[in-house]
């Protein structure tokens, strides 16, 4: 029995280090290869020894697919390919391919240079790893090998994020990566066609949330920033270098322009400058508005937003600063946060999801006194705001996508177990499909019943079509033909052609049957009586009385003979070929009832 097996190595009932193994039709595919933000030990990378137990990675995996450039989806890639060792192809979209190495390099710098970790991947490893990448276009069907093919769909979320359809034969799996069903200021909404996969693996970050309209969110955000700036406060917006940051930049930029505000907006340098460059380049991946207006002005060429310098943080007066990283767990954003936390005029706006264990998560959950490194205690007086700008689909969005793709099974990853439970129940209830939510290392096995394509010759099809009435989609039709199986290839042909192809002679199959009739008359007369009887009953068929005394109905032969022992009984010999089985058996049963008595 063919089956699809799914094992999450990461992101199973968890957010972070997405890494899912899928076996489909004898092919093994790894979806995403991420790291975990919350850990600094071995747990930050997926446990690849699960695979390496059985040998080398390259032997086991047919390909690796990266859905987008966030580190929790691609952070372990150099480690996986260079340190553990994988030489097969890695698939990702063009923007992901461009931006991914920048982020990896940044990650490496923080880990090695700042935290002084040894045994970490090097810059060269990142470069080597990126050489194994094959870039794909949206909706382009890429043939990984003869049987395995993948196709990318637009996913919103961040620039270049994609959902991937993995297909072997007639079995398919769709992996959504992270996606967003509502468009925002710089990206469009995720979209997939009715591809009806056997399995849909979807993220479920916001499994239990239905969000307010994005317009209210935007307005709230602008209002909060505006008010903080007006009373002279500083606003810190911790963001990841790419993604939300660009959306918020566009939002603030247009607002500043409209309201004619003068307070400076800063953006942490380095990464972001490079990233903005890519946003300018990959205009086709953005939303309708930016795509349409970039000829006049590329929206990513900001007028009001300038590069940030560390010294600016101590400048007096209001300002807005976007700083990385987004969860306040390290880096510049944490530094600035420490500086500004003591003043109640200031404000920090957390625009996204925060993983448990990070500073961001702590302050959001209301903690006002934070223990920092070296037993320092930081008192947070500044205002803490949370704006759900995270570009993940909410519960409604997930349901919408499931509705669009019409899968046979759904599997939830990238979310918290408690929340998944609710969504799982909803999906099972409303779509009546099975829903799974495996933990890390747990394998889900789905039996599939793949359909087997059979070729049919046009002549046969037309002939059979012509015989019946109109084709009716609701009713199955009976078709006569011969099934030829040759080199794992099925064909349905007419029997004549099958004989010809196989070089076989046709065998005639005849059925004969004796029917005893009580009739004292002569054989000739009996035959005549049979003839007239059949003639009257079978009006649609050609009934003939031959000169030799036998009767034919179509090709069926009936002969009457005297019974050797009992002269009062006549024996009717009925003989028909296999093709006339239906009519033949009908005739016998008719004759068995006897001839009508009234006839002479």
């Amino acid at each position: 029995m063919p089956e699809i097996r799914v094992t999450p190595l990461g992101a199973g009932q968890d957010v972070g280090r997405s890494c899912i193994l899928v076996s489909i039709g004898g092919k093994n595919v790894m979806l995403d290869c991420g790291m975990h933000m919350g850990f600094n030990d071995d747990r930050r990378f997926p446990d690849f020894s699960y695979i390496t137990r059985n040998g080398r990675l390259t032997d086991f995996l047919d390909c690796v697919i990266i859905s987008h450039f966030h580190l929790d989806h691609c952070g372990a890639l150099p480690y996986f390919s260079e340190m553990v060792g994988y030489d097969g192809p890695i698939y990702m979209t063009h923007p992901t391919q461009a931006i991914c190495p920048i982020l990896l390099e940044d990650y490496r710098k923080i880990a090695v240079d700042k935290k002084g970790e040894a045994n970490f991947f090097t810059s060269q490893m990142i470069k080597d790893c990126m050489k194994k990448v094959v870039a794909v276009h949206l909706h382009q069907t890429v043939q990984v090998d003869d049987e395995l093919e993948i196709k990318a769909y637009y996913a919103g979320h961040v620039l270049g994020a994609a959902m991937f359809q993995i297909k072997v034969g007639s079995e398919s799996v769709v992996y959504t990566g992270d996606y967003n069903m509502t468009p925002d200021r710089h990206l469009g909404a995720a979209w997939i066609d009715k591809c009806r996969p056997n399995l849909l693996i979807t993220e479920s970050t916001y499994a239990t949330t239905i969000r307010d309209s994005k317009r209210c969110r935007e307005r709230d955000f602008l209002k909060k920033v505006h008010e903080a700036v007006e009373r002279g406060g500083k606003v810190l917006i911790p963001v990841f270098a790419l993604g939300r940051a660009q959306e918020l930049c566009i939002l603030l930029e247009t607002f500043w322009e409209r309201m004619n505000l003068k307070a400076p907006i800063y953006f942490s340098t380095g990464l972001t400058e490079k990233a903005n460059h890519y946003y300018k380049l990959f205009i086709t991946w953005t939303n309708q508005k930016i795509r349409k207006t970039f000829v006049q002005r590329n929206m990513f060429e900001f007028k009001h937003i300038k590069a940030f310098d560390r010294a600016f943080a101590d400048n007096p007066g209001p300002m807005v600063v976007f700083a990385t990283p987004g969860m306040l767990h390290a880096g510049q954003s944490l530094q600035i946060f420490r500086k500004w936390a003591g003043n109640e005029k200031n404000m920090v706006i957390m625009p996204g999801y925060c993983v448990q264990g990070t500073v961001g998560h702590k302050i959001l959950s209301g903690q006002r006194k934070l223990e920092m490194e070296g037993r320092q205690v930081l008192e947070v007086k500044m205002q803490v705001e949370y704006m759900s700008f995270s570009a993940h689909a909410d519960a409604k969005g997930i349901m919408q996508l499931v509705g669009q793709a019409e899968p046979e099974n759904v599997l939830l990853v990238h979310g918290e177990a408690k929340k998944m439970e609710f969504l799982k129940q909803k999906i099972e209830q409303e779509f009546r499909v099975n829903c799974y939510m495996p933990a890390n290392g747990e394998t889900v096995t789905l039996p599939t019943s793949p359909s087997i394509p059979v070729g049919i010759s046009l002549g046969l099809l037309k002939r059979e079509m012509a015989q019946g009435l109109l084709p009716d989609a609701k009713k199955p039709r009976l078709l006569h033909g011969t099934l030829i199986m040759k080199d794992s290839n099925f064909r349905l042909v007419s029997s004549e052609q099958a004989l010809k192809e196989l070089g076989l002679a046709e065998h005639q199959l005849r059925f004969t049957c004796r029917v005893h009739l009580h009739d004292p008359r002569k054989e000739q007369e009996t035959a005549l009586r049979v003839y007239s009887h059949l003639k009257s009953v079978l009006k649609d068929h050609c009934v003939q009385h031959l000169p030799d005394g036998s009767v034919t109905v179509e090709s069926i032969l009936i002969q009457a003979a005297a019974h050797s022992e009992d002269p009062g009984t006549k024996v009717l010999l009925v003989s028909w070929t296999y093709q006339d089985e239906e009519l033949g058996s009908y005739l016998t049963s008719l004759l068995k009832k006897g001839l009508p008595q009234g006839a002479t």
Binding site: T182, P183, R185, G188, A189, W191, I192, D193, K194, T208, T209, I210, R211, D212, S213, K214, R215, C216, R217, E218, R219, D220, K223, K224, E227, T254, E257, R258, M259, N260, N287, Q288, K289, Q383, V384, E385, A395, K396, M399, Q400, G403, Q404, K419, F422, Q425, K426, E430, M465, L470, P471, A473, K474
Partner: protein, 965 residues
Amino acid sequence: MAAHLKKRVYEEFTKVVQQQQEEIATKKLRLTKPSKSAALHIDLCKATSPADALQYLLQFARKPVEAESVEGVVRILLEHYYKENDPSVRLKIASLLGLLSKTAGFSPDCIMDDAINILQNEKSHQVLAQLLDTLLAIGTKLPENQAIQNRLVDVACKHLTDTSHGVRNKCLQLLGNLGSLEKSVTKDGEGLAVRDVQKIIGDYFSDQDPRVRTAAIKAMLQLHERGLKLHQTIYNQACKLLSDDYEQVRSAAVQLIWVVSQLYPESIVPIPSSNEEIRLVDDAFGKICHMVSDGSWVVRVQAAKLLGSMEQVSSHFLEQTLDKKLMSDLRRKRTAHERAKELYSSGEFSSGRKWGDDAPKEEIDTGAVNLIESGACGAFVHGLEDEMYEVRIAAVEALCMLAQSSPSFAEKCLDFLVDMFNDEIEEVRLQSIHTMRKISNNITLREDQLDTVLAVLEDSSRDIREALHELLCCTNVSTKEGIHLALVELLKNLTKYPTDRDSIWKCLKFLGSRHPTLVLPLVPELLSTHPFFDTAEPDMDDPAYIAVLVLIFNAAKTCPTMPALFSDHTFRHYAYLRDSLSHLVPALRLPGRKLVSSTLSANITPHEDPSHQFLQQSLERVYSLQHLDPQGAQELLELTIRDLQRLGELQSELAGVADFSATYLRCQLLLIKALQEKLWNVAAPLYLKQSDLASAAAKQIMEETYKMEFMYSGVENKQVVIIHHMRLQAKALQLIVTARTTRGVDPLFGMCEKFLQEVDFFQRCFIADLPHLQDSFVDKLLDLMPRLMTSKPVEVVKIVQTMLRQSTFLHLPLPEQIHKASATIIEPAGESDNPLRFTSGLVVALDVDATLEHVQDPQNTVKVQVLYPDGQAQMIHPKPADFRNPGPGRHRLITQVYLSHTAWTEPCQVEVRLLLAYNSNSRLPKSPWVEGGEVSPQVETSVIEGTIPFSKSVKVYIMPKPARR
């Protein structure tokens, strides 16, 4: 190179049309008329290969065929059809048959038998489809003939089982267009089974080909359009199609569901998997709402549009569309809108600062949450934040229509509309502002909403700001703070964009007159009066101060206690403003002043209006013109023209009429003057110089008549006759002047013939009006027409001359409403001293912004002209999309003009002005074949005969620099 580049640029960016004279000449005579079919026959017989034959047929199709010869042509085509083996040629013939049967004046029933006949023997699917199309053309041509229709329907039914989707499509189309409306076909058709067309079409809803499914739904919709009442059973079938894999099927199915829901709004349908039942229209509404989140944006647009017209839907369903039950971690959350409302009603201003004011509240029962309701839940919330702006616009429009019919819904959707004011696409913002204006009668804005609305006043787009001003004109504000806020924001707007002055004043006028009681407590603050101290007198020329006064005075009109709060200078300023801005400041009942008789003048009908009377009298004076000597006539005319012009300046509402009549009289004056020339009394060769005067007069009359004909809106046919008559006289004048001044007879031949043609043309166009023109020039001329036709040119001229001198003055009847077209160029302002610099050979884009008043069909008539200092003139056709229509009779042209020139040594000015293009030939009745043939009628009308400048020209300083190497 540069020149080449420039040429290319011109080709790409502008459409400079050269006026071609020869086009008119091409359709003069048609001598080849009778040999049409014969020629085709010969051609087709000559054809050796199918490709040849196809070429002949294609050539043939380019030329029109007269109704009389259609039948012959059809016979020949059919004959070849039978012989032809190549399917592509047969296809072309079949399509030609269809085209020919559409010819006006030809009854195609005679070819129907043949068409059906060849249909039966045809094997090729494509040809079959084309033949069915031909049959459709025939059938639609004969809507009365029931027998033929039935026969065609039979044919269609027979071919419905064809394997090709194209054939099935055409069959369904045929059924949709011709399927009989009465079910009682059996009465006359003996033995013919009743064909239930709906049933047959309905069966194809489940066809395997999506194109056929779409065609089936379209056919059903066609049946509905033709007045056949669809069965309710179709509803269920259509609902199934909503989950079709193909977007065009879904899109059509949405339409069908909408149609059915309008037909049977009150029937009851069961809800699957429950025992409840709901009204069909509610069910359909829910289903269409669901389609607003479809995967394909085409379907989404379609669904959002249709929602707007479902007014019978129950209110609780309607209100669901705006409700998306929020939750966070399984706890119920209130929307930002709800929170804002609550804050407002608790008397606290929304600060957005309170920590956790959006914290989720009560726990939700997990079982009760329904994530994909089939109901209408949140349809508009989704539609309004759709990715494609087309969907958003459709959703806003639908909101508008639904809100207009339901005040409670209007109140609810307000928050969402206000949110749309911040959309990223300007069109959407504009549309939502317009929508808000339309429903403003039903709503009152809360303060926080007003705040968001007013924030848009800083928008840099003039369109948006003006739309917002118009919205504020008719908004209800609930508190005095709201009024104050609005005033403050408007004044801010005024300082930022001084050009908005008039619009803002007008806006404040309405704001004041709508909310007198709210303005009252604000007066002391606004006028900055103090109970004890005198304050400084504000500057009377300050637009902001005028704005405040406009608000107060308009509020004071219905609030008699207000003037008591005014200080002395306010009264003085009132008097001044009442005079200078009388359209903005109403008459007030001020203490110690007599009321001006403004209330009296309001109820005077236009005919009793003294100025109107004056106009009538001065025009009546001119009637007596006939009895005066030339000198007296001239004086009278001059006097009247002067009077009319003055009147037009004083009374803006009569300006159109006065100008129109003055122009006519001026023409008459010129004519009289020209005929008084000495030229006529003296021998021809001696007076070359004077003839200049007469021919100039003729030319000017021509120009003026064109202006009269095309520059005024509301001109009726009776005026057009008179105008054309005047023009004819001018042409006659021209003819005789040339006859007098040129030597030799040869050029006269052509001129005479042309003139006679003009007369003929006049007669043909205005045959119905000729009785009104008794004793006129043309009347007399037509009497002598037979004689003129045969006479020599010299004689003709003589006759015409006497006619012209004897002709009487025709009285011009005045139309009801007449307005002169006018245009004002707002931008470029023409004041800049900085030249626009650009590299020669390349182009520079100049933004042109102009308002047009009373221009009919500006998309086709208004052109922009650029005059370069070297005398070169360039005409630019603006795109149709560049014209906006902000109100009746008003248009706004916002376009870009591309300038280019070779290098200059120093900057110089180019002139930009607007032209009104006209084409007097458009009055010609169209020949019948134009519609049937493949010649597009556009070619005919888009030819420009001449242009009238109708705006002041604006000078733009430009400087093409030589290209740097």
